[in-house]
Amino acid sequence: MESLTRQHAQVPPPIRRLDPQDPTPAAEAAPERSTNFVAAKRSIAAPQFSIRRMEVDKVSIHYDAKEAVKSVSLPIRQGEVLALIGPSGCGKTTLLRSLNRLTELTAAAKLTGSIRLDDVDIRLIEPTLLRRRVTMVFQQPNPFPMSVFDNIAYVLREQGSRRMKKKVLEPQVHSALQRAGLFEEVKDNLKHPALKLSGGQQQRLCIARALAAEPEVLLLDEPCSALDPQSTAVIEDLIVKLREDVAVVIVTHNLQQAYRIADHVAFMYLGDLVEYNSATRLFNTPAQDRTREYVSGAFG
């Protein structure tokens, strides 16, 4: 399975941009602690630009007495993909959900520190507005039990309203599906029940749904963990393509994946942010021993 995924990454489909100038990161790796990554090639181009959009500033999150995230600070940039990695239970999901205030739905969760979106504290932004600017894709594909078209239309319409005719919404629905790379597969039958699509298609529909709100930041919580290597490869390409339109944050347990698509990687351990670094450096010349142990598969 794993080798098949890698093969996919090495033979990029035409949509992935190849950068001949990209220095081979494998060359930076010290040979004696050779990780799996020496063999893997990062085939994505260096970012064309990067603009700081969000700022996580000394954020701690408690569930009652338990501290799930401990004073984490990091930037989130448009033009880049940021990957959050770390062993299970280290607080990745909690941190990700706090970025659009979904943690507030858990009564026990308390957040201290501040998160800013374009220099505005997100606590000052009305949650429903914030959640349209910072949208989220979940681990389990979860389209709504309605047609493909209605899944997107629901996001475009005002709250619970049914106003705005299908005809009016059509261009926006098509463009969201196109951005998520799903349009070609579903265009013949947009009335198809969304939950009868394949898992990979469902997840891309969820990405289309998240994109339909025209967000500035896209959060993805292990979006490929329920998918086969083929669908994973499609979604990875998509994420890389999206990074210039939206700032992308992805949580993943698949270190290969983080290495393939991320520009920066944050490694968390038991709620602490151990290391925040560029992907090539974090995987090949980690600054912290903990990181090295983790990326070489010592634990996790």
């Binding site: 739905l105 429903t128 949208t135 979860n142 709504f144 709250q159 329920a226």
Partner: protein, 340 residues
């Protein structure tokens, strides 16, 4: 070593399986099925018992339906559904049971109109809001308590309430004395009886929706209200329908409330001087269930033929409701569900 050979091969490599690999040998085709021959004697006896019980219940249900079907077709005349019952000594003279038939329909519609929105609202509040916790616990216990109360107790309680002067406008009033028996009174108490079934079924439906589905809706900026209306309630439509179905079964089948709160008169007894629908709804009446009882050999009317005809109509209504519920369920199945 043809010139084009090796190149063509490298281009094809990523598409198919890596070169040289062949598929593993297929096992010889068999149609082996798991048999119970390896089971212990007790397990096999248990399985046999399950089969026996299943078939027995099928047989009982089929016997009832077929018997009523035959009797019904034999005795039911369409005119019975539009002819009111009348005093008479023979089956021919005593008319039909139109008042009972329409009484059942009216009560079903009225009770469900009260119980369905209330029950669904309670379930939504319990599952989606449920705060303060203490209030939610009390609500839960109240609903459970209502589910356990026999309908005759509701009936007695109803007479106390609807005989009060303040509620005189819901029934007949004679020289300051409030009669307290009417379709309004009966429907209110029957609604209370159907309520717990609707609450329980709707809660079950809401609880079956994974949390991340709600969060997906909140996560694109939808409010709780919008999520409930457009995602949660449509998703648990089948369970709501099941609850309504079970509730309606109770409503249609009840007799205590009909006798005590509806009056169980043979015919409608509209209140004079009230405008059209209100005069009937404020008056007394009867239902098919009660008619079947009265027309059975133990009842006052003793017209068993008509009892069969009315029972057949009752059964038909219930089967129709079942079919409608099944339709809603199969529609939902077509829409699919989440993998857990």
């Amino acid at each position: 070593m043809t010139p084009g050979g090796p190149q063509a091969q490298t281009e094809e490599l990523p598409v198919g399986l890596p070169g040289g690999l062949t598929e593993p040998p297929q096992p010889p085709p068999t149609n082996a099925v798991e048999g119970s021959s390896t089971w212990s004697l007790l397990d096999r006896l248990g399985l046999a018992f399950c089969w026996f019980l299943g078939l027995l219940f099928c047989a009982i249900a089929a016997a009832i339906v077929i018997y009523l079907l035959i009797k019904g077709i034999q005795f039911l005349k369409p005119s019975m559904l539009v002819t009111p019952a009348a005093a008479g000594f023979t089956e021919g003279e005593s008319g039909g049971f139109s008042d009972a038939f329409f009484g059942t329909l009216i009560l079903g519609v009225m009770s469900l109109t009260l119980a369905l929105p209330t029950g669904v609202a309670i379930a939504v509040w319990l599952v989606e809001y449920g705060r303060p916790k203490a209030l939610a616990r009390v609500t839960e216990m109240t609903v459970e308590a209502i589910a356990g109360i026999p309908s005759v107790v509701f009936a007695l309680f109803g007479t106390v309430i609807f005989s009060s002067a303040a509620l005189g406008f819901l029934s007949r009033t004679n020289e300051g004395v409030v009669f307290g028996r009417s379709f309004f009174a009966a429907a209110a108490m029957l609604a209370l009886e159907a309520l717990p079934l609707i609450v329980a079924s709707t809660r079950e439906g809401l609880n079956a929706i994974p949390r991340h589905v709600r969060e997906a809706s909140y996560g694109v900026g939808k409010t709780k209200a919008a999520t409930t209306r457009r995602i949660l309630l449509p998703t648990c439509r089948p369970q709501i329908a099941t609850g309504a179905m079970l509730g309606l079964g109770r409503i249609i089948g009840d007799t205590a409330i009909i006798v005590i709160l509806l009056g169980a008169t043979q015919n409608f007894s509209p209140v004079e001087g009230a405008p059209f629908p209100l005069n009937y709804l404020r008056g007394a009446g009867t239902t098919l269930t009660n008619f079947v009882y009265e027309a059975s050999p133990t009842g006052n009317l003793n017209q068993p033929d008509k009892a069969y005809a009315a029972a057949f109509v009752l059964l038909f209504i219930v089967l129709l409701l079942n079919a409608a519920t099944d339709l809603i369920h199969s529609r939902a199945r077509k829409a699919g569900t989440w993998s857990h």
